[in-house]
Amino acid sequence: MSEYIKPLPKPSPTSRPFWEAARKHELTLQRCGGCGKFIYYPRDRCPHCFSDNLSWNRVTGRGTLYSYTVVHRASSRAFADAPYVLAIVELDEGPRMTTNIVAPPESLKVGMPVVAFFDDVAPGHTLVKFKPA
């Protein structure tokens, strides 16, 4: 296996539960006990109501393709293997995520249903990506 040269997430104390769950191929989001909203990415306080009553919840991994771009030429040499699909997915629980869609670009359509999968990109590192549902 060739060396993985793309940037890897460096979990913070706040985000560690998210990445640990991803390693177990589970998608978890914080949910605010104050306003009930789901939150992505992980925070110390709810960005909506500023409550610190946040709990982790496993979610469906289902959502819709909010927008996407086919990157033909990347701004970083680490992504010289372009083209790739950089996307925003709106999860059924509400939050949006920056992610990749792994599917032929010509099959993509804004609004189409997508589902999360877990890409073990490097030892100890799993990214949450999506594919057509």
Binding site: K6, P7, L8, P9, K10, P11, S12, S15, Y41, Y66, S67, Y68, T69, V70, V71, H72, R73, A74, S75, S76, A78, F79, A82, Y84, L86, A87, I88, R96, M97, T98, T99, N100, P105, V110, G111, V121, L127, K129
Partner: protein, 385 residues
């Protein structure tokens, strides 16, 4: 409280951007362009008592303003870095006016310079960007604007031809601007759409080119402005707004914080978009101009595509827009790209537009945009007759 008429731009400096910076340094460019702006304002270096500066990515560091004023030999009574991306230059103008209105200083040098060398490393982004954006390849600004463009096309049926028209008309303006990087060859819509696809749906000619350069504006108190040699260009209104950094987490990716920023600016000025004689919206990409014209109220939301297609955006047209060519044709010398919209509005309102002078231009709108439509600053400027 209002900044209306509390300060005026009285001098500008702007260097022609270069593609190859060679032996240039950011501090060296700052010295050159500062001298130009101070002389243009009819002031001496020692008259400058306020200093706002952008951090050059080519030579960043802690405590930047003090190093810069030491190099320039200034002794300001107010000094600061303004770090709101491409909105920094426009943001400097109202900050300067506010400091002057508060009595902290009288003549503020607003200064930006940067170099772009192939292969240069940029300062790191904040941890959350590195953690949740970079691993997926959302690096640099291109992807974010492509995501906006795609969604705008989906929601409002905006077309690639409409987006391309922005680059085409602005190029026609650049042909009359000796300072523009791309000022020799006209562009057609077919040229734009035939250029290389970089981040679908954005083509090469819809994306700014990194170059090296510098720009400066002197903002002064009414007392100084009234005795300056140039016609003072008064700040009538200003507004600033932000609600996200990554576009993924913006409340809407097609409606930007330009809306509240522009509303504040027009309210302060007591004017409306249709009063403007020219507009200088930040244009890192073609889609940026379309979203700006919508959110600032020059057309209805979602109608930006048809609006740019139906109007002539050239200096001689019915809707003069980025008469210097925009950054798409001027080039983007780091933050000095954002200043190019400010300097062009001032130049036009002073009546120094040369071959591209907009007839009887008295009121101008400028928007500065940082990051991925994140930091926004709107300005309304006036030349009083």
């Amino acid at each position: 409280m209002s900044l209306k008429g509390k300060a005026a731009a009285i001098g500008i400096g702007e260097l022609k951007p270069v593609k190859e910076p060679g032996d240039l340094t950011a501090l060296g460019l700052m010295a050159k362009v500062s001298a130009e702006a101070i002389a243009d304002a009819g002031l001496e270096k020692n008259d400058i008592d306020g200093f706002l500066v952008g951090m050059p990515y080519a030579d960043p560091g802690m405590l930047y303003p003090a190093s810069a004023i030491e190099v320039l030999g200034l002794a300001p009574r107010m000094l600061n870095v303004v770090d709101i991306g491409g909105a920094s230059p426009a943001g400097m103008i109202w900050r300067a006016a506010a400091a002057i209105d508060a009595g902290m200083c009288n003549a503020v040098l607003c200064l930006v310079a940067d170099l772009n060398r192939a292969g240069d490393q940029r300062p790191p982004t904040v941890s959350v960007q590195r953690e949740f954006e970079s691993p997926y390849g959302n690096i640099g600004a291109n992807c974010g604007y492509a995501l906006i463009a795609r969604r705008h096309m989906h929601e409002y049926v905006t077309t690639p031809e409409q987006m391309a028209k922005v680059a085409v008309d602005q190029r026609a303006n650049a042909l009359k601007n000796p300072l523009a990087t791309f000022n020799e060859k006209p562009l057609t819509i077919a040229d734009v759409l035939g250029s290389r696809m970089i981040v679908d749906p954005l083509h090469l000619y819809e994306i700014v080119s990194p170059v090296s350069g510098a720009a400066a504006v002197i903002v002064a108190s009414p007392e100084i402005a009234r005795r300056t040699k140039n016609p003072p260009i008064w700040l009538l209104g200003a507004g600033e707004a932000a609600n996200h950094s990554s576009i993924t987490y913006a409340p809407s990716i097609t409606e930007s914080p330009i809306k509240p920023a522009a509303e504040s600016a027009f309210r302060m000025a007591g004017l409306k978009p249709s009063d403007m004689d020219l507009v200088c919206p930040y244009d890192c990409y073609t889609i940026t101009v379309i979203v700006t014209l919508e959110d600032a109220g020059f057309c209805k939301k979602g109608h930006g595509g048809p609006f740019v297609a139906e109007h002539d955006l050239t200096y001689a047209g019915d809707f003069p827009c980025n008469t210097h060519g925009g950054q798409l044709s001027f080039g983007q010398p780091g933050l000095a790209g954002g200043m190019s919209h400010v300097t062009e509005a001032i130049r036009q309102l002073m009546g120094r537009g040369g071959e591209r002078q907009v007839k009887d231009a008295a009121l101008g709108y400028v928007n500065g945009n940082g990051g991925i439509m994140s930091e926004q600053v709107s300005l309304v400027l006036e030349r009083r007759s």
